[in-house]
Amino acid sequence: MNALESISIAIDAVRSQKLRSSLTLLSIGIGVFAIIASTSIMSTLQQAVNGQLADLGENSILIQRTPTINFGTNWAKMRKRKNITYAQAQQFRDRMTTTQLISISNESPAYTIKAGLESTNPDVSLIGIDDQYFAVNAITIGEGRSFIESEVILNRRAAIIGTDVVKALFGQGSALGKTITIKNQEFDVIGILESRGGVLGQSQDNRVLIPITVFNRYYTSEWDASVDISVKAESKLTLESTFDEAVGVMRALRSVKPWDENNFEIDTNDAITGQFSGFSSALLIVAWISGLGALVAAGIGIMNMMLVSVRERTREIGVRKALGARKRWIVRQFLIESITLCQLGGLTGMIGGLGSSWAVTEILRGTMPSLSYVMPWGTVVFSIVICTVIGIGFGLYPAWRAATLDPIEALRYE
């Protein structure tokens, strides 16, 4: 009876002090919301990214001018790095001895692709590739074929397109053999990529691949004329030596002095995964710190509410003490009340957090069909625990005040 009674008193208190309690409950809600939503979205994405990177193939190394995911790196230094030119990349490919699986590519975002009267949104990635691209990256052609070496050398106007582009331009019809136009240049469609979802909300099917020589001629400007080099080691065993050789060759080509750092970025798949988790944990830390901050602020609000509650019920406390309630009974009663308040706020935040992270997942699923919602059970449990801790932590002082009231003064209180 007593615990239930305390819970119903807490709910009554919320009703009778609507504004103040809804603000307090709101800030608990926000705290729990921040924690739940960020954790849930991040674990959903993490799951997707892990899947995608595994897809990118084992034992591969990526060489770029600047890192893919940039978090807290020195931008001034990055900007000073010279481009990795196509010529330099070709020299690199020729000098490498431990592996022949080397592909040079470059990517430029936001193109509109046309075919007849149809056109795509202006958000298609255009990627210049060479004939090794599909051997090095674990991206596969669904229909048609890839480029052969001579097509790359001779600037053949041919394209391999993603399924999003096929849908936009040709609907359900076949795209092979059709002609598409990219900024006034016409291309024959010779292949279609296998659909593969997306990473971080960016579809990997909304892209067009053309020979890098054509790409370099028509679609690069000074600032993005740096190419990416993908290197696939022959096996896990040779990954390290290939990595070391790649570093050595690049340093030589780019004249890095022995005492200077690399002026390019070289990473294995594992390292890129690591970068993502570094990025996501930084985001999580920010969300958790602000969430916990909101919870502490809410805790002070709870304490205030409880002090008001103790004052308003001074007489009742006096009666309870006269009837023989020991200190710990009174403490218990008020703690149950403040925990209930916290859980009420926490519940709203939890529902909001789970709902919105589910909604975000649904939206991202538009571009990442492989995404599945990850229910953050651990965090749900954590929120319940933290709400209890806050209820106890900030309810203890008011509860103690109530328990140590002088019974006579409390009974006389008007």
């Binding site: 008193i9 009837l323 023989g324 309630a325 020991r326 019974p407 006579i408 009974l411």
Partner: protein, 234 residues
């Protein structure tokens, strides 16, 4: 007289108000035995409530000794006092002091909750107590659904549900009309005849007349302590 329930000697209660001192009690010596029926009378400010609070273990004296069923109350801490109040003392207040959101039954159960009694037994005892005060048909009513007299009956049921050694009532009829007041006094009379020890504070001679012994206070001292010649027969 058998083993006395209350033995107080030279009881003094001093309140400090800033640099002024108020002596609410200035040396009260008194013994009350089992199954007595005592009325405390005296002018306003004479120390009646202070003495009742002391007897009820709600307050501790500034000096003097208080033995409750032979135990020294002055040495006890808050939780010990709470336990004595729970086990041995039933309070009836002028303003009833029922919990507004609890039903009559829940109000009467409350002291049993604090003594740790199991739920079923609690319900049974509380039902018995309410039946005894004639409220068997009002158990699920909240205080605001009851008349003043009925509220005071609930309070009396709550006071006697633990079978305490004494029932203390500070002006129990003060907020009731005289007819309802007389009904309540008849109830106290029944409790006393049933073996309870009853001590009550009152201003009214009509009320005090029900008691067997009348103690009059003045300025924190006992002025007179005599058997009530008008008391109805036991």
């Amino acid at each position: 007289m058998s083993q006395p329930i209350i033995e107080i000697a030279n009881l003094v209660k001093r309140y400090e108000m800033g640099d002024e001192e108020v002596f609410a009690l200035q040396g009260v010596t008194l013994t009350i035995g089992r199954n007595e029926y005592v009325a405390l009378m005296g002018p306003s400010g004479s120390g009646k409530s202070t003495l009742m609070n002391m007897l009820g273990c709600l307050d501790t004296p500034t000096s003097g000794s208080y033995l409750f069923t032979g135990e020294n109350v002055s040495d006890m801490d808050d939780d010990d006092l709470a336990e004595i109040r729970n086990r041995e003392i039933g309070f009836v207040f002028q303003t009833f002091n029922l919990l507004p959101r609890a039903t009559a039954l829940q109000n009467v159960e409350l002291p049993l909750v604090y003594s740790g009694m199991a739920r079923e037994q609690r319900m049974q005892r509380a039902t018995e107590a309410l039946t005894r005060v004639g409220l068997a048909d009002r158990m699920d009513h909240k205080p605001n659904e009851l008349s003043g007299g009925q509220r005071q009956r609930v309070a009396i049921a709550r006071a006697l549900v633990t079978s305490p050694s004494i029932i203390l009532a500070d002006e129990p009829t003060g907020n009731l009309d005289s007819k309802t007041g007389q009904d309540i006094m008849r109830l106290f009379g029944e409790l006393w005849r049933g073996g309870n020890t009853v001590i009550l504070v009152t201003h009214e001679e009509d009320i005090a007349r029900h008691a067997r012994r009348i103690i009059r206070l003045r300025d924190g001292r006992i002025e007179s302590d005599e058997v009530n010649p008008h008391a109805p027969l036991a």
